[in-house]
Symmetry: C2
Subunit: 136 residues, 2 copies
Amino acid sequence: MKNSKRKSDCPINFGLELFGDRWTFLIVRDLMFKGKHYFGEFVNSEEKIATNLLSDRLSMLESENMIFRSKDKNHKQKIIYKLTKKGIDLMPVLIEIIMWSALYDEKSAVDMNFVKMVNEDKEGLIKELTAHLISS
Amino acid sequence: MKNSKRKSDCPINFGLELFGDRWTFLIVRDLMFKGKHYFGEFVNSEEKIATNLLSDRLSMLESENMIFRSKDKNHKQKIIYKLTKKGIDLMPVLIEIIMWSALYDEKSAVDMNFVKMVNEDKEGLIKELTAHLISS
């Protein structure tokens, strides 16, 4: 997103211009909650993102400093993707989507233990998961 | 969204298949935070949604029971749109997007009073705004 192209300065629009696309969100989900780090892992997610869309969204997320890529320590030829602090800070948004879906989707695959943990101590859970993502 | 077409039962994917489109989110924003209720008001929002997209997203939101339409009491020929409880319950998602944008968008038009209120008492604010939307 180039600032000059912004449709408005509304804070909701700002967020949506960056990640307001389901594929972008699903990549962030994979990095945040599913421990996925490789192109091939994102491709294999249940929702079956097309590889051209995946490449495009990874480039966008990287250029917006929401993820970064590096060479995998164990497999030098492999590129590993991780969330930056800016990307990790989307966690409350994703958690609220999970909580809403838990309420309204009777077929949801949501982990009820996770819902319970959020209800008991949302802030604590976010801190713990954030610290884990930053250190890993 | 037909359940048979779902790409996965992941709770994040569930949410995104319903509202994971920036235009859908911006309509919910207009109804939730901008006091807009009419087709013409959504059209006039800063982001300039095309009327065909707007019609499509309003139909989708209505069929998913996130908004409902009725005849305006004062102008019988006008259709008024309001959020259902299911739609209003997206408020925490939108608030977290606002908070993230307030953190990362140096040009943000975010109302710093709103940010302060969220930081002081998020649950109280959500309850108050929800009650207002339900009663209005």
